[in-house]
Every structure is written in C-alpha cells, then in structure tokens.
C-alpha cells in the first residue's frame, strides 16, 4: 500500500492490524505519533455534563413561554388596527348621498346654499367635510342645479364633467345620453378631454357617442321641476325611458321604431294624459296592464 494511502487511512482511524504494521515502518511514523500525542494537550476541557444537564432541564420552566410570541404580536396588531382605523376615519371622504326612486323627485341643499333638484331614479353624492376645498358632486341621472356664487363647482358624471362658477343648469346623464342645459351664467362641459363652454340657452348633447350643440328655448328652468318632461329632437326611446322613470312602469314597444326623433312633452301627474301626449302625435295606441304598458301601431 502506498505511503499516502496508509496515512489517509490512519487519519480516518481505519487501519487494519497488518496495515498498522506497515504504517509503523514509514519514515513519517515517528513524527506523526509525536504530533498525535502532543495534540492531546489541545484537547477541549472536560465539561461537567451532569451539572449542565441539571441547569438545562431546570431552566425549562423559567424560559419556556408558549405564548410569548403571541403577546407582542397582539400588541403590534392592536397598534396597526388603531392606526389604520384612525387613518381611514381621518382621510376617507364622508360621502353624503341622496337618491330618488321611480316617480319621485327631491330637492337637495348643498352646504353652500346651492340647490339641486333631483329627478326620478337619480343619485347625487358629495363630500360634506371637503366642501370648503372643493365644491364637487357626483351625479348619476338628471338634476337641475342652482349654484351659489363662489369657487369652481364640479358635477362629475360617468360621461363627463360639468364645471361652473355661479349659475343655473340642468345635467342629464342616462345610459347612452349625456345632456347639459345652461339657463344662467356659463358652464364648461368636459367630455373625453375636450371642453365646451355653454352660454345661457345653449344645449350640449352626447347621444350614442355623437356630439350635438344647439341653441335652445329661452326657459328659465327645466320643465321637469314643474312636473313636465319635455324633449327636443331626441329618440323616442329616451322619452319612453323617462316615462318609465316618472311613472314607475315598464313600457313594451316591440314593434315600434324607438329610434325615431321626437319633440314634445308629457306631464308627471296624469298617466293617461301623458300616454296620449306621447302616442297621439306618432299615431300609436297604448294598452295598460297593471305595471306594464304596451305600445302598438294604430
């Protein structure tokens, strides 16, 4: 066996008796055994195993705290909850919301004495606390605004933003219709990043994504606040939808071209008069069945 292999085996404490004899014959033998015995001086001190055992097994009760990780965690959790709650309370907008159901209208006073008339099936919300910094309301549906003079007033709808100073105007935002009437002062309408300024008597209309602008009647207020809905050059479908909102009924108009353009008005206080106002000019007949109304050709 090679000298190196013998030393390797000796290092692994794996020499057989014969190999050990061979190892003894090596010239390294004396040096290696001398080192081996000298190394014993560097032995790690003996430790008192029994004493250590007693220490370890008796300290158990003092040191074992099964819930110790849980308590600090609870404290941290409590602080987080309180902090987060305070943060939410302080920063979340406190929205005031007004909603109307079908056949219903309401009048809302804003913190700065501005007035809003809310038409049927509409919702208006605003942040009362932040009113001083920004006069801003969210509108879904139709409303008529009489805005007190002051800072910029914004009406935010899904379709566009209406910005004013002090004025009176009507905003109508329904499914595919977005209509703004200006009655007094001036109004800025922002729709798809483009802005238009309306003067009194002007109308801005988005119908199915198309933009229309025209001069309008010289009324002082929208008719609907006096219980009459009026339409100018709008599809019949819009009239029907408004009728449904005002009388809380469903209108079936299956065989009728509801996209034809109509002009006219109907009252909110008499369903038969209203139906006649709608059907007569178009030469239609109507049939009432509880909460649904069927429109037919004459």
């Amino acid at each position: 066996m090679r000298r190196e292999d013998l030393i390797q085996k000796w290092l692994d404490h794996a020499l057989t008796p014969e190999e050990f004899e061979a190892f003894k014959q090596l010239e390294d033998y004396e040096e290696l055994t001398k080192m081996q015995s000298a190394l014993q001086y560097f032995k790690a001190p003996e430790v008192d195993v029994d004493a250590a055992y007693n220490t370890v097994t008796t300290t158990r009760k003092d040191t074992s705290k099964p819930t110790s990780w849980f308590k600090p965690l609870l404290k941290i959790a409590a602080i987080l909850v309180i902090g987060f709650g305070t943060y939410l309370y302080a920063t979340l907008p406190t929205l005031t919301t007004h909603e109307t159901i079908a056949a219903n209208k309401t009048l809302v006073k804003l913190p700065d004495t501005s007035e809003v008339a809310l038409n049927a099936v509409s919702s208006l919300s605003f942040d009362e606390d932040a009113w001083e910094e920004k006069r801003e309301v969210n509108l879904d549906g139709e409303a008529y605004f009489k805005v007190a003079k002051g800072k910029t007033f914004n009406v935010i709808t899904d379709d566009g933003i209406v910005t004013v100073l002090g004025t009176e105007f009507n905003v109508k935002q329904r499914d595919d219709l977005f209509e703004v009437f200006c009655y007094e002062g001036s109004v800025k309408v922002t729709y798809n990043d483009t802005s238009v300024v309306l003067k009194p008597g002007q109308r801005y209309l988005i119908l199915d994504g198309k933009e229309f602008r025209n001069e309008e009647e010289n009324r002082k207020e929208p008719t609907w606040i006096h219980n009459e809905s009026s339409f100018k050059s709008l599809p019949l479908q819009e009239v029907i939808q408004e009728f449904e909102r005002q009388y809380n009924v469903t209108v079936k108009a299956n065989n009728i071209d509801t996209s034809q353009i109509v002009t006219g008005s109907f009252t909110h206080s008499d369903i038969d008069a209203a139906l006649q106002a709608i059907t007569m000019p178009l030469k239609l007949k109507y049939q009432k069945k509880q909460n649904s109304i069927i429109l037919k050709r004459d």
Binding site: I7, Q8, L11, D12, H13, A14, E31, K34, M35, Q36, A38, L39, Q40, Y41, F42, K43, A44, P45, E46, V47, V49, A52, Y53, T55, V56, T57, T59, R60, T63, S64
Partner: protein, 159 residues
Amino acid sequence: MMFSSFFKKHYQSLYSYLYYKFGDYLNPEDKAQEAFSKLWQNCGKVKPEKAKSYVFTIGNNMMLNEVKHHKVVLQHQKIKPKSHTNESPEFLMQEQEYLQKLERAIENLTESERTAFLMNRIEGKRHKEIAAILGISSKAVEKRIYRALGKLREEIKEL
C-alpha cells in the same frame, strides 16, 4: 429518559466542536447549554433522528452570532495547551518548544481545517462522523484533514 441519555452522549461532543471551531474565548459551554435548552423546550417538535444536527446547528449559530459582536477580538483568539508535569527538565524544554510550534501552526490553519482536524485527531472521530456534523461530504472532510496535517508538518519543520 431519552433526553438525558442523548444529553450525556452529545453534550461534551458539541462543546468540543464549538471549542475547536471558535476557541475558548466566547464561552462555548454557554452556547452548548443554550442549544440543549432549546432542544429540551422543543422536544415535541424535533424528531429524534434530527436532534443531533439540531443542537449542533443551534450551537454553531449561537457562536456565530457571538462572533459577529466580537469580530476583532476573535482574531487574537488562541488555543492554550494544558500545563503538564512529571518529565525531565530537558525533555520538558524540548517538549515545550515543540508544543509552542504546534500551537502556532494550529493557529495558522483555517477555521474549517482546524475544526475538522482537531475533532479527528483529538476526539478520534472518523471522517464520516465529522462530515455529518459539518454537513459536508466525507471526501471534503478527508481533504481538509489531510491538508491540515500537511500544513502542520511543514510549519513545524520550518520554525
């Protein structure tokens, strides 16, 4: 009880390992005790076959944490030979000289060489056992020990 026999079997061994690896300065015995305390508290969670590597790992980690705080001090750490008697004065002189050389040579080994070599030579552990403790292959242990031996022989000759 299982814990007591386990303790008696491995406590000295863990202590020696920490002693060879880190020297005597940073209280290896405290760390060995703490490691076994941890095992004692977590008896239920540690599988019996993992217990040994559990205490060795914890002991080692605790020493390493300590080393972080004492980095500068550790560089001057030395292993002291035991004092000894009952020999003739000349022999003592020679022996003393040899021991000093040996000590210096051991100091010059790397930590990994020193740990493996001393466990092998002094504790009489085989390569396989050391490999299990250090978590490396026996081949690597063999290389470290052989390299350490070569370094020691050379340095003692030179000095």
